[in-house]
């Protein structure tokens, strides 16, 4: 599978939050999107997912241009996002949240049983009402809910926010299990070191534009791109 994002621009009303961003992701790869607050990371994910309409540019999945498709149509084609803030359905149980995740209608390795194996945290809480769980439990459930949809590419928006480091380590350890089956991952992360430890590719955003992109980058270069110091 290949996801190609080409000269993508998007924003909110008059505000252009994202400008001419381009990259591509292959099957089984992990792409880390890093940048300061307000750099446009979440905007990028929402535009790829279809929640935001792109001003210019395109999103192409396996050769098919999905830029004009709705979010639900993209989800059915395998572009799944775990949104910022988890966004579980609070009055539904964990199991019901997961069951809704199968609405993509996609077949694959992931189902209720296999995600429960991957996340024992979720398995133990199937009948718990989603709104009454801790941050870590909710995050695991949100990721599991996207996984049962059998994504081609799963996009994780700041999964470490507000969570204890030990739990975050556990999530990152599991990323390997996800990519092993050919699923790609786009990771939006504030914690740059954490993101770099797993990423094949890094894309740094600064004020809505690409400031650095590549593989095996020098940390000093990344820091400069993140903060906007150094050469532009």
């Amino acid at each position: 599978m290949t996801l190609v994002v080409n000269e993508l621009s998007a924003g909110y009303g008059q505000l252009t939050a994202l400008r001419n961003v381009s990259f591509s992701v292959e099957g089984g790869e992990i792409l880390a999107i890093i940048g300061a607050n307000g750099a446009g990371k979440s905007t990028l994910l929402k535009t790829i997912a279809g929640q935001l309409r792109a001003f210019t540019g395109s999103v192409v999945l396996d050769g098919e241009d999905v830029t004009s498709l709705s979010a639900s149509a993209r989800a059915r084609r395998g572009i799944l996002m775990v949104p910022e803030g988890r966004r579980l359905f609070p009055s539904l149980t964990v199991k019901e949240n997961l069951q809704l995740g199968t609405s993509t209608g996609r077949k694959g390795d992931w189902n209720l049983d296999s995600v429960c194996e991957l996340f024992p945290l979720v398995a133990e809480r199937l009948n718990r009402v989603a709104g009454q769980m801790s941050g870590g439990e909710q995050q695991a459930t949100a990721i599991a809910r996207a996984l049962v949809g059998n994504p081609e590419i799963i996009m994780l928006d700041e999964i470490s926010l507000g969570l204890a480091p030990a739990i975050v380590v556990e999530f990152y350890d599991r990323l390997g299990e996800i990519t092993r089956r050919g699923t790609s991952v786009i990771l939006v992360e504030q914690d740059v070191k954490r993101a770099l430890s797993v990423a094949d590719q890094v894309h740094c955003l600064l004020e809505g534009q690409t400031s650095l992109t590549g593989r095996n980058l020098d940390f000093a270069d990344i820091a400069a791109a993140y903060f906007g110091t150094g050469h532009r």
Binding site: A49, G50, Q51, S70, A71, S72, A75, R76, L80, M81, P83, R87, F89, P90, S91, L92, E96, Q99, L100, G101, S103, T104, G105, R145, G149
Partner: protein, 277 residues
């Protein structure tokens, strides 16, 4: 036993208002429309009104689907005002079309002997028809509750009422879900309308009263809870009946007073589920 009839009405409204957050002022008019459709159907074919339901319900359900999908869907947004205006307009249109095509007379459908049949249980006499309606309302609400709790569609409806954008991220098309919910709601309105048309007389303008009763039942019972709505309908029915016993011809007023008391002191309703507005 009046509660059974109200429960059927109110269930549909509970779905539209409580879940989809649409203020459907045309709900009562649809019920009356269904009653007139059934009336003409029985007059044309000579079939009993119950069989007319077999035709009227699917027709109304299909109409509800289309109305939601193509008209009401566009009124959804942050403000409740568009849906209020549109559905109010629809109600007026339906009422006036009916007034023109039918007369303003009271009409009534009959089930024959069942109309006045009653069970004598010593202390009280239970009308067979109201009893049957009560049982029917239990069955219908039970089915609806099961659908909401156990089916993927029901889960989707509950999820949409909490977070529609995230539902889209999972591959579900909210418009379809809303459309089918609209169909179910109007099917319930149709059943309620025909049932009411058998029990009491109706005319093109009866829709307003039915609408009020349905809203009262939903609010007494608590917005967002199906069984709450059922209880609310029962409370309303009992209030009206008991009230009529003590103050003949003021039964409906007593019902309104009870509703106002609930609104003042227990606005979250019997089920206590408070939803964000």
């Amino acid at each position: 036993m009046l509660g059974g009839l109200y429960a059927i009405f109110a269930a549909g409204l509970s779905l539209i208002f409580g879940v989809m957050k649409i203020v459907s002022l045309s709900y009562g008019a649809f019920a009356v429309l269904a009653a007139f459709l059934a009336l003409h159907f029985t007059q044309a074919t000579g079939w009993p009104p119950v069989l007319a339901l077999l035709v009227v319900v699917p027709v109304m359900a299909a109409f509800g689907w289309a109305l939601q999908r193509f008209v009401l869907q566009r009124t959804l947004g942050t403000s409740a005002l568009p849906s209020i205006l549109v559905t109010f307009g629809i109600a007026i249109i339906i009422e006036n079309v009916l007034l023109i095509t039918e007369s303003a007379d009271q009409k009534r459908m009959s089930l024959g002997w069942i109309d006045t049949a009653a069970l004598d249980l010593g202390l009280i006499r239970l009308g067979v028809y109201p009893l049957g309606l009560f049982v029917l309302s239990l069955v219908l609400l039970g089915i609806l509750a099961w659908v909401m709790a156990k089916t993927q569609f029901g889960r989707a409806v509950r999820a949409i009422s909490e977070d529609a954008p995230t539902v889209e991220l999972l591959g579900i098309r909210p418009k379809m879900i809303y459309a089918w919910a609209g169909a179910i709601a109007l099917a319930l309105a149709a059943i309620g309308g025909v049932a009411s048309g058998i029990q009491t007389s109706f005319s093109p303008t009866s829709g307003g009263m039915l609408l009020i009763f349905a809203f009262e039942a939903v609010i007494i019972g608590g917005i967002g809870s199906l069984w709450g709505t059922f209880l609310g309908a029962l409370v309303l029915g009992v209030a009206q009946t008991v009230g009529a016993n003590y103050f003949p011809s003021q039964g409906i007023l007593i019902g309104h007073i009870v509703f106002l008391i609930f609104l003042a002191f227990m606005p979250q309703g019997l089920s206590g589920k408070v939803k964000r507005s």
